[in-house]
């Protein structure tokens, strides 16, 4: 891994450093498929970057990390350029000071890979309107994470207001294995579902979201209940023909699927690290319409509850 520190620099200097490093390493061909812009604070930088570089093994990318520092200081741009054998792409950490913190897009724009998708990711607090954010506006795909917000439930409920096709949230990504297992359980028809409940750790935004998706697809009221966690622990669906379809997971790794008239079956249902979540997000870059429908449903449910 070659690291280059550039202080008080500009985007064009960073760009030429990247080109120079690539040629020095003897790999002038660019095999990168997208630019990932990560907006994060100094404290979250390390974890976010780790996840991003891991995800880059599946999707070689140019990773731009935008860290906004003290806006009271003089205007300055510091950059750390990393190109190495360990990761297939390129990493640039950008630290913005002074008034520049309000103009991050001016630094990002010249550093985007030509004619390939741009993905913006906020691992921490996200802007209220991701698509209107200067960096979000550059991206075709905007990934937020309601779980990282101070009030995760409120955050996921409010996503519908700002939703623009191309938005997505990690709280939704975390649900894929659950949704996949539930869908597989429904491959053998179970008849009408009368209602149900999703149980999960308190404050976990994925719980209400899963309930919203289920209630939208099954056209039945699905409640949310709190449990000790970790993460989601159980989905119970009350069947019209009697009995319940239950998926429960108490150890965050192995789930049990039970349904009337059938033996219980255990299925791996592990919580996944951020890198895998991110890799899943980067696999499909078209708008996730089902997510859109689900958060709208969630907003409608919350609205009815008089929130």
């Amino acid at each position: 891994m070659t690291t280059f520190n550039l202080t008080e620099t500009t985007a064009s200097k960073i760009s030429s450093t990247l080109t120079r490093l690539r040629h020095q390493m003897g790999a002038p061909a660019v095999g990168m498929v997208l630019t990932l812009v990560t907006v994060v604070d100094e404290a979250g930088q390390y974890d976010a970057l780790r996840a991003a570089t891991d995800a880059a093994r599946e999707h070689p990318s140019r990773i731009l990390v935008v860290i906004k520092r003290d806006s009271a200081e003089g205007d300055r741009l510091d950059a750390e350029v990393r190109v190495g054998e360990s990761s297939p792409g390129e990493v640039v950490l950008l630290r913005l000071y002074g008034e520049l913190t309000g103009h991050a897009d001016s630094v990002i724009r010249p550093l985007l890979l030509t004619d390939t998708p741009v993905v913006a990711w906020w691992p921490g607090e996200a802007p209220a309107l991701p698509a209107k954010d200067p960096i979000g506006a550059l991206a075709g795909r905007r990934i937020t994470d309601a779980k990282a917000a101070s009030d995760g439930i409120a955050a996921i409920r409010s996503r519908a207001e700002s939703y623009v096709p191309g938005d997505t949230d990690m709280a939704w990504t975390r649900l894929t294995p659950w949704r996949s297992l539930l869908a597989a359980a429904f491959d053998l028809p179970v008849g009408q579902v009368e209602g149900g409940v999703v149980e999960g750790a308190s404050g976990n935004p994925s719980g209400p979201l899963l309930a919203a998706w289920l209630s939208d697809r099954l056209d039945a009221p699905i409640d949310v209940a709190e449990s000790g966690g970790p993460g989601l622990t159980r989905v119970r669906l009350r069947l019209k023909d009697g009995g319940e379809l239950v998926v429960s997971r108490t150890d965050a790794r192995l789930a049990t699927l039970s349904r009337p008239g059938q033996p219980d079956r255990r299925v791996a249902l592990a919580r996944r690290p951020t890198s895998e979540l991110l890799a899943e997000e980067l696999r499909r870059l078209d708008p996730d319409e089902v997510y859109g429908t689900s958060i709208r449903r969630l907003a409608a449910i919350s609205g009815r509850e008089g929130r």
Binding site: A29, G31, M32, V33, R57, E58, H59, P60, P88, T173, T176, P177, R179, S180, L181, L182, A183, A184, A185, F186, D187, L188, P189, L214, R217, L218, D219, R253, L254, L257, G261, Q262, P263, R265, R266, V267, A268, L269, A270, E280, R283, R284, D286, D288, E289, V290
Partner: protein, 571 residues
């Protein structure tokens, strides 16, 4: 519903009656049968039978399921294609294929969340094993060969469904035990009577195994459930034997339930040939005799015959590789665009192009064959084919085969397709190279373009999957010198870990029941029709020419191209 109860309930007593005597034959079998008998005796109430029938009736095709399942939505692309509840019965679990490819591929599918809840794996082999022993074998195979990282919870899920049935193929008792075992698995794991039988055994056992499946009624799917059989190449050794083999399977299984595995078709790069050709506008306009000079399809191996001596001798390179892999590659490269990507449309186009394949008029100059001699391969001394263990010293089996084919249609008339394959060549490499004609006029002096070759588009199948485009470029400097350069698209680079093993894809397709990537019997027969005259010609014309190990094959193969004013690509 009421009609479907009958086979379910009716079959049970008959099977139970046959079981005790057979079960006692092996120590592992006894326990299973005692349990099964107890359960079936006590529990087969009308309710369970109705339930089983209902499950069976509803476990129909994938499309119907998707349509019926309220949680599935075609727009929901995050949800993977997951197979329905089923059992995979693996014959030949002790073989190399099972250990190195199949068992790891099953784990990898599980790790990617693509196996259904309750998925069960039954191993069948002549070993005195208990379920745990087979689980241990699977565990070791997974640990050693799986592509994805080992995760305890995935293993737990998988190991709960692992069963083993000891026995020999001609032993009726063993198959009765198997049949009981599968019924029990349906009860305990909810697999709904859906079984896939994977015959990872030499073809000489096919008739016995298939006859046993027929006898025990395992080949016969009750309404709404499915039974599939998976067979591996070789699909015969000539047209006649291929038909005989097919007669055996088709007497028991309908064609749509027979999945013939050509693992090349499961490779991402091979599937990408279709994407490259039919998802782009860039290549199709030049994909014809107007621009293409010739096509070279190569599968080179650096290894010798090794442990496959018994099978290989008398079969040879052409039957082993050209008949299936290379002709399939040719079909994908040369076919017209299918109307859709469903199995019928795709197979129809492949058949059309295989039907249009023409052999050279003179087989003596239009084909070449060789047999490797001792020598040095990659820095190691190696023995010649005739000195290999298990090979008769006067064997006339070819280890190198090359053939010049033409495709007699409007698109390809006059464009030769050169196919070659061999063992103990310089390196391991499989590729398809489309070599284009030279530019009709070069406005440069001949000196400047002296070393400019022909443009080429190369689909690298293995190793280092990807696509290379070769074209002329100016050498930097004051002179106008034009030279060939390569432009690379490496799969490893752009989509690194998303490239699953061929067997993962194919196994999943078998369990889902998605046949486009499996050759149809008609394709198999057409391929033999192409190859049979060559084999007959060779059989009546002496022995193959020797070539030194670690080189690119016999001189006659080079001469074959030289006569056309061409040369093999140096790989």
């Amino acid at each position: 519903m009421t009609e479907q109860q009958a086979p379910g309930t009716g079959a049970t007593p008959g099977e139970t009656a046959g079981a005790p005597e057979t079960g006692t034959g092996t120590e592992t079998g006894t326990g299973i049968n005692a349990e099964t008998n107890a359960e079936i005796g006590a529990d087969v109430s009308v309710e369970t039978a109705i339930l089983a029938a209902a499950q069976a009736a509803t476990a129909a095709t994938t499309e119907q399921l998707v349509a019926a399942n309220p949680l599935r939505d075609p727009r929901d692309k995050r949800l993977p294609r997951v197979a329905g509840p089923c059992v995979l019965v693996l014959f030949g679990v002790t073989g190399d294929l099972a250990k190195r490819k199949l068992l790891p591929a099953i784990y990898d599918l599980g790790n990617r969340g693509l196996l259904p809840p309750g998925f069960s794996l039954v191993g069948f082999a002549r070993r005195d094993w208990a379920h745990e022993d087979f689980a241990q074998v699977t565990y070791e195979a997974v640990k050693e060969h799986a592509r994805t990282p080992f995760r305890e919870e995935v293993w737990k899920q998988l190991s709960e469904g692992i069963h083993f049935c000891p026995g020999e193929f001609h032993d009726d008792g063993a198959f009765d035990v198997l049949s009981m075992m599968l019924k029990e698995i349906d009860e305990t794991r909810g697999t709904g009577g859906n079984y896939a039988f994977y015959l990872a055994v030499p073809p000489k056992f096919f008739p016995t195994v298939i006859e046993q499946l027929k006898r025990t009624g395992l080949a016969q799917a009750p309404d709404g459930s499915w039974r599939r059989v998976v067979i591996e190449k070789p699909f015969g050794h000539d047209l006649k034997s291929a038909r005989e083999l097919n007669a055996i399977t088709s007497a028991v299984f309908p064609e749509k339930s027979v999945f013939r595995i050509d693992h090349y078709l499961g490779k991402e790069t091979v599937q990408n040939i279709l994407a490259l050709r039919f998802a782009n506008t860039l290549y199709e306009p030049i994909w014809n005799r107007g621009y293409v000079d010739h096509v070279q399809i190569t599968m080179a191996e650096d290894i010798g015959v090794g442990g496959r001596a018994g099978y290989y001798d008398g079969i040879g390179a052409a039957r082993d590789v050209i008949q299936n892999h290379l002709l399939q590659l040719l079909a994908l490269v040369a076919m017209e665009d299918p109307t859709s990507f469903d199995a019928d449309a795709l197979r129809r186009e492949k058949e059309k192009v295989l039907r249009a394949v023409r052999l050279p008029a003179d087989l003596a100059t239009g084909t070449a064959r060789g047999q490797y001699l001792g020598g040095w391969q990659g820095g190691e001394p190696v023995v010649g084919y005739l000195e290999e263990q298990g090979i008769s010293p006067d064997s006339a089996t070819e280890t190198y085969a090359a053939v010049r084919l033409e495709v007699a249609n409007r698109r390809w008339a006059g464009v030769p397709f050169y196919l070659r394959t061999g063992k103990r060549l310089s390196r391991r490499m499989t590729e398809v190279a489309i070599v284009f004609q030279r530019a009709p006029h070069l406005p440069f002096s001949t000196d400047d373009t002296e070393i400019l070759g022909q443009n080429a588009l190369v689909i690298r199948v293995q190793p280092d999957e990807g696509i290379t485009v070769r074209f002329g470029s100016k050498v930097p400097g004051s002179a106008m010198e034009v030279r060939d350069v390569n432009m690379d698209f490496a799969y490893g680079e752009s989509f690194m870990e998303s490239s699953p093993e061929a067997y993962e894809r194919l196994l999943l397709d078998v369990l889902i029941g998605d046949p486009p990537l499996f050759p149809h019997q008609r394709e198999v027969e057409l391929s033999w029709t192409i190859l049979d005259p060559v084999e007959e010609f060779w059989a009546s014309n002496g022995k193959p020419e020797g070539y030194a190990s670690g080189t690119w094959g016999p001189a006659s193969a080079d001469e074959m191209l030289a006569r056309d004013g061409r040369a093999w690509r140096r790989l």
